[in-house]
């Protein structure tokens, strides 16, 4: 194999976004007709790397080689022309089209100006048979199961002549049975000479299907290994990193009083249970951490708790009152705080002044409202107070939120949730994407909140954060709370292997 040039080689790829280095000197060599897995935590830089390979982003530096020749992609069109195809995690199919129509969409076969469906149909049949991807070209896409839709995406890419297939988290949307089928098809494709790049963070799956595995962490390529040479645990260690956090020993402030009680909470998304039978209590003065790789039900849990999504099963009790049927506003007014994972997308009105952002989520309460009126004076005063108290670096309450750095935006959000004196605070990824200084400040605020007797739900991908701050720590995997671990005893490696399913509950 070493004789042949790699099918795809990425050398020294670096890509920075304002304030963030997404890829830093990434090197990846994919041999022809192999299944090469790229694994890493969310935010490790996998997607950026694949977007570069697919021509959606251009690297700041570094080169892409195909079969030993340097290539430059200015858009996905160039990448497709060079034989690279991408199967996105979220399908890009028109559901009211047939399989045939979806496959040809964007590269319609024309014959003398008219659509030549006959030839396309024959080619789809041929492709699906020769590559072991069963598909009926004349079925309506909306009638297909998720696994079948994925096959449509794969055939669509093959139809365009791809010999290198990028699959972005292909198993995330599948049920176990479909995963087995998909793997069979991938092996078949490999036999046919297709090279597959498989993006995932599910280590058990990666070990099963891949010929080589490249681990990415913090924008760097850590190592490329063969699945037979590593265990899931070792892989998890590579993914999470071995730099141990210093779990902080402190006085427990946990009391007997339950402030938030979640019983059997379940959320169904289509056919799939995105969250299933979640049961836990959070006490006065307790931080409950939820560890998990993103996309394992955290979003559904949060949305069910704050009332954006109606749960299909279960109840949520806030300080003794059942709030399962309450609107988001009623929950907010009754002491539910929320620090959203997507600061700018869900937490701020970017073009608006800070005082209007301080009100957000508390716009019905003192000092922001007086009857049906907005109290601008009260809101500005509160914002000024918040700026001083929480060290938000800004000229004043009339600056727009857009003009703040990420860390200062986050301090404003944390501050506004804390000053509203909530009973329960949900903090989702509270330190994602902010600088080290702001991170420490946010951690300190969470500790203070706990000391003040809040019940905190901390949902994070940062294991150091979870271990350091939580009193109780659960692991969420595929929508289920699969394990409860002792944050004082657990190591990030152990936690990582729980999160990826490498260690099953009760095994440790």
């Amino acid at each position: 194999m070493a004789e042949r040039a790699p099918a795809v080689e990425l050398k020294g790829i670096t890509k920075t976004f304002p304030g963030v280095v997404a890829n830093d000197d990434v090197n990846l060599a994919v041999q022809p007709s192999e299944i090469h897995a790229v694994v890493g935590e969310n935010g490790a830089g996998k997607s950026t790397l694949m977007k570069i390979l697919y021509g959606m982003l251009r690297p700041d530096s570094g080169t892409i080689l195909m079969d030993g020749h340097e290539v430059h992609f200015r858009s996905p069109k160039d990448a497709i022309a060079a034989g690279i195809g991408m199967v996105h995690q979220h399908f890009m199919l028109a559901t009211n089209f047939t399989v045939l129509e979806n496959v040809v969409l964007g590269s319609e076969p024309a014959h003398a100006g008219a659509l030549d469906f006959g030839r396309a149909r024959a080619r789809i049949r041929e492709l699906s048979e020769s590559h072991g991807v069963p598909l009926d070209p004349d079925r309506l896409t909306e009638d297909l199961a998720v696994g079948e839709r994925q096959r449509v995406e794969i055939v669509k890419v093959l139809f365009r002549g791809a010999r290198i297939l990028i699959l972005d988290e292909p198993t995330a949307v599948l049920v176990p049975q479909e995963v087995v089928e998909l793997f069979g098809q991938l092996r078949e494709l490999k036999e046919q000479g297709v090279t597959i790049i498989f993006i995932s963070h599910k280590l058990d799956e990666v070990l099963e299907i891949a010929d080589s595995i490249t681990v990415i962490r913090g924008g760097h390529t850590v190592k490329t290994v063969k699945p037979e040479d590593v265990t899931a645990r070792q892989l998890a260690e590579l993914m999470v990193g071995s730099d141990l956090p210093i779990p902080e020993t402190r006085e427990s402030t946990v009391t007997e009083e339950v402030l938030l009680s979640v019983q059997g909470l379940g959320v169904r998304v289509g056919e799939r249970w995105a969250l299933e039978d979640a049961t836990f209590d959070i006490h006065h003065g307790e931080v409950v951490g939820i560890a998990g790789v993103e996309g394992n039900g955290q979003r559904e849990l949060i949305e069910a708790l704050i009332g954006l999504r109606k749960p299909d099963t279960g109840t949520v009790v806030l300080a003794g009152t059942d709030m399962t049927e309450w609107s988001t506003r009623r929950r907010r007014e009754n002491g539910l705080g929320y620090i959203p994972e997507d600061r700018q997308g869900r937490g701020l009105l970017l073009p608006s002044p800070l005082w209007e952002n301080t009100m957000l989520g508390h716009q019905t309460l003192y000092p922001f409202a007086r009857g049906p009126w907005i109290n601008k004076k009260g809101a500005r005063q509160q914002t000024e107070h918040l700026i001083h108290e929480y060290g938000v670096m800004t000229p004043g309450p009339d600056t727009s939120a857009l003009a703040l750095s990420g860390g200062n935006q986050q301090k404003l959000i944390v501050g506004r949730e804390m000053t509203a004196a909530p009973k329960v605070l949900i903090a989702a990824q509270p330190t994602r994407g902010i600088d080290v200084g702001a991170q420490a400040a946010v951690w300190e605020l969470i500790r203070e909140a706990r000391a003040l007797g809040l019940a905190l739900l901390l949902i994070s991908a940062d294991l150091e954060e979870l271990i350091g701050l939580s009193d109780t720590l659960y692991v969420i995997l595929r929508g289920r709370l699969v394990a409860e671990v002792d944050p004082a005893a657990v190591t990030p490696e152990e936690l990582g292997s729980y999160m990826t399913g490498a260690t099953k509950a009760g095994a440790a």
């Binding site: 997507d342 869900r346 937490g347 508390h362 601008k376 727009s400 200062n408």
Partner: protein
């Protein structure tokens, strides 16, 4: 100093719009062999006569109300294209209801306005319900409802609400509203009535301003427009918000025809102006969804319409003025976007500098 620079930048928006509109219209006039100088001079002379001022304001009032109705939707990214249908059906039914009752003067006026608002809101609510319950985009449904409203108005007027024909009279109209349901002119300028609904329109403009910028409802509305996800997380129920905004927009739309009804026609006739709902979209755009801007835009459009009438007398096709209006809309929207970006980047820069200064100060204090 920074502040007046920002203000000056904002002033660029209307100035550039007018300059561009004059320039493009001149080119069009030249291309059809007319003298732009003569055309603009006579427009200016005619348009500054006292009676033209009254006419300009009378024309501007319905446009202003229409602009407000559209802007309220725009503020939360809800595109109520149905203002046209809402005001036409509301004007018809309000005129018919007003003619059917006898009430003391102020109550009679209030009653007619109430009917108009309720009908406008009810017609708009159809689009609201369709969006909330069935996910039908409001642009599609309101355009369809406009067509339905046109047909419905024609049918109701011809078959049910038409004044019984007296003698040889062929006029298709609702019965006259008695004097208690009419509004006399505020004053006369150069022999032209200045209609008194102007005062109510000003009150309405202030009310809309207060509602959007001073109330919790307005805050929720603006938040939903700026970032619907953040608004939802903050406790705004998007469906309720859509319904309320649609009802409000429709209720205001219902008032568009009132100035003409109270001050001039006193009945719904085939001469009652149409198309104001569509012009209202342009007025809201040019007025940047702010009552003051909408008032200015409505006056500009009203003036251009009035002043253009002189062109016909001089043999210049007054359709040129449609091009002028189009250019105004385009240049305002484009100039606004450019200035907004400039001001924003300026603000970000200033804030960054200020933040750096604050941080340095903090370090000096710490040291």
């Amino acid at each position: 100093m920074k502040r007046w620079r920002t203000r000056l930048l904002w002033l660029l928006v209307p100035v550039s719009a007018i300059v561009l509109a004059v320039a493009v219209s001149s080119l069009v006039l030249l291309s059809i062999g007319e003298s732009p100088v003569d055309a603009f001079r006579s427009m200016f002379r005619y348009g500054t006569q006292a009676n033209s001022v009254a006419s300009m304001i009378n024309r501007a009032v319905p446009l202003f109300v229409a602009g407000l109705a559209v802007a309220i939707g725009f503020k939360m990214n809800l595109f109520n294209i149905g203002v046209e249908g809402q005001y036409r059906i509301a004007t018809l039914l309000a005129a018919a209801a007003g003619a059917a009752v006898t009430l003391p003067a102020p109550l009679h006026i209030a009653f007619i306005m109430l009917v108009a608002m309720v009908v406008g809101a009810a017609w708009a609510s159809i689009a609201g319900v369709l969006k909330v319950k069935r996910g039908v985009h409001e642009v599609v449904s309101t355009i369809m409802l406009n067509s339905i409203a046109t047909g419905l108005v024609a049918y109701l007027l011809a078959n049910h609400l038409r004044k019984p024909a007296a003698g040889s009279e062929l006029l298709i109209a609702t019965p006259q509203i008695p004097p208690s349901g009419q509004l006399g002119p505020l004053t006369q300028l150069g022999g032209e009535d200045l209609r008194s609904f102007l005062l109510l329109a000003i009150v309405l403009g202030v009310a809309v301003y207060v509602l959007i910028w001073r109330t919790r409802f307005g805050y929720d509305l603006r938040a939903s427009g700026i970032n619907p996800d953040a608004a939802r997380v903050s406790g705004v129920d998007p469906n309720k918000m859509i319904m309320r905004t649609m009802l409000l927009s429709g209720a205001i739309a219902g008032l568009i025809g009132m100035s003409d009804l109270f001050g001039f026609f006193h009945a719904y006739t085939l001469d009652v102006p149409t198309g104001i709902g569509f012009d209202g979209i342009a007025v809201a755009l040019v007025g940047l969804n702010h009552p003051v801007g909408i008032a200015i835009a409505a006056l500009v459009f009203g003036w251009v319409d009035r002043a253009a009438q002189i062109l016909d007398l001089q043999g210049v096709p007054k359709e040129v003025i449609i091009i002028t209006k189009g250019v105004i809309i385009f240049s305002v929207v484009i100039a606004y976007e450019i200035v907004r970006r400039l001001v924003l980047s300026q603000e970000v820069k200033t804030a960054a500098e200020e933040t750096r200064r604050l941080e340095e100060e903090k370090e000096t204090v710490a040291a």
